[in-house]
Symmetry: C2
Subunit: 309 residues, 2 copies
């Protein structure tokens, strides 16, 4: 069994590659839910949904989220009634948020809902939210405290980040199956997702980081930072705001207590020595994933490093 910790966009690329290289039944994806938010009164889980749609073959790879070729009729009318329209929810996508909101109101836990959606869309891999409890990533900026989506989508990550915290994390529990999956995994992969706001919330759920430290299986990460810059998104601003060096070394440091290996870009070979000084192995190989073939190759490389074949 292969356990994968991931956020949305960047992580979904590697998850896509892994899904084509490993039998679906062996895959357990543990997903960030710190970005979840309420939009038009509906619970939206951007990372869970991106991963689910990706594994269902429905993902809009160009946008990085949502369903490909979706329409936006309801959104246009929500706008007429004064609803916020900065988060672009398509008609197909809305059906998922409506269903989830209804089931949450009926006291079905998020993990149960995720399982139901997965089944309805024919996804074979296991997808677990990090927690059934609400954990909210909050971004403290000069302009005040923002939700992740306000910071990321609405304000285009333009604000300087002073601090990031995860409201509700200390009282949250890992979703059913999360700790067992990490304990019994043959290998664990941390996707090239933002270490602060994608992997960070997962690690903030009490018990998960400890399980990663204790697991006997090898744990590998793929760096989301290449030559001091993120492949996509605001990881650099968030890492700097959280006091981490914006580099593959900074990523390695963020995970040093449980990580065994990190894949870094060839451009970052100079960091190998400092990374290995942390007691973990650095593997330089092309990690940028633009094409489907890139995704499969990076997946194969990280699987090979873990001897998971």
């Amino acid at each position: 069994m292969l356990v994968v910790l991931t956020g949305g966009t960047g992580g979904a690329k590697l998850v896509h590659g892994l899904s084509l290289e490993v039998a679906a039944k062996e895959l357990v994806i543990i997903c960030n839910t710190g970005d979840d938010f309420v939009c038009h009164g509906l619970r939206v889980c951007p990372d869970l949904d991106t991963i689910t749609y990706t594994l269902a073959g429905l993902g809009d790879a160009a946008r990085g989220w949502g369903i490909q070729d979706d329409s936006f009729v309801a959104l246009e009318w929500l706008g007429k009634y004064g609803g916020e329209s900065w988060f672009k929810l398509g008609d197909r996508d809305l059906a998922l948020h409506i269903t989830r909101t209804r089931l949450l109101a009926e006291a079905v836990p998020l993990s149960g809902i995720t399982e139901r959606i997965r089944g309805a869309l024919g996804v074979q891999a296991t997808i677990l939210p990090m927690s059934d409890d609400r954990v909210e990533t909050r971004i403290v900026t000069m302009e005040g405290e923002l939700s992740f989506q306000e910071y990321f989508v609405k304000r285009h990550w333009a604000d300087e980040v002073k601090k990031v915290f995860f409201a509700g994390a200390e009282r949250s529990r890992p979703a059913p199956g999360v700790l067992d999956a990490i304990r019994t995994a043959e290998a664990v992969i941390l996707c090239p997702s933002n270490p602060i706001t994608s992997i960070g919330p997962i690690l903030a759920v009490p018990g998960i980081r400890e399980a990663l430290t204790k697991t006997k299986s090898p744990v590998a990460a793929v760096s989301p930072i290449i030559a001091g810059a993120p492949v996509s998104g605001p990881a650099h601003k968030l890492m700097a705001g959280a006091g981490f060096e914006v580099s593959a070394l900074g990523v390695a440091k963020a995970y040093a207590d449980f990580l065994d290996k990190i894949m870094i870009a060839p451009e970052d070979r100079a960091l190998e020595e400092n990374i290995e000084a942390l007691g973990l192995q650095a593997l330089a190989a092309p990690i940028r994933m633009d094409s489907l073939e890139d995704k499969r190759r990076v997946a194969r490389d990280v699987l090979a490093s873990l001897r998971y074949m």
Copy 2:
């Protein structure tokens, strides 16, 4: 000021006609909400919405509800996730239900939401729900108790009706403006809506029937029954189930305590004497509304009978 009590489909035809014969600012429409129900976790108000869409020029006159030329993309996907799809909510229509559900959760009363939607769609007439409190029309059949939508849409009104009641009515209060409108109206019209499940719930809200009895303005109804059969829908089954004769006379009896005039079809001239024995005036004229010109003519006829010009 002209006050109009109405349900959905049948009532919407006359409301449409009236809206073309009377200045919009003079119109106050009091709408049945006994049919309201929750679908996919969203609050749907079929009669309020049909009236609002009709007045906005958006109504799907052929179907009798919803928005013309709507698409059904979200509904198809709600079905994939196991959601019920017997109530056909279009993408444009969904936006209204999503907005209403969000605002209700934010403790905005239904009347406030209705006002906001009206404004957003450019409707000039006043539209009032009968109550901001939840009143639910329940249909008792041999198969058990059904909500109105289950009886009407899902089971195609095939069940024999034993009894109809309005759960929550006794504790409900008229929405703000309803009693004042009836008290100060120059004339009141009861649309040719089902007397049991469209007008019945409005009259079941404590204070409304009394206000109609006390108002000095003339009150006229248009019969929804022609020659012993409803123009549309299950009014005959519901009237019979409630112990009323299925005829224009039965309609007159249902409203006899406050009604001054009733428009009946020429086919029902034989009932005039019995209707007038109830102490109210029967006016025979064509009341079937198939075309827009029919709607306008019936509107003009009922306005003339009330000397409201």
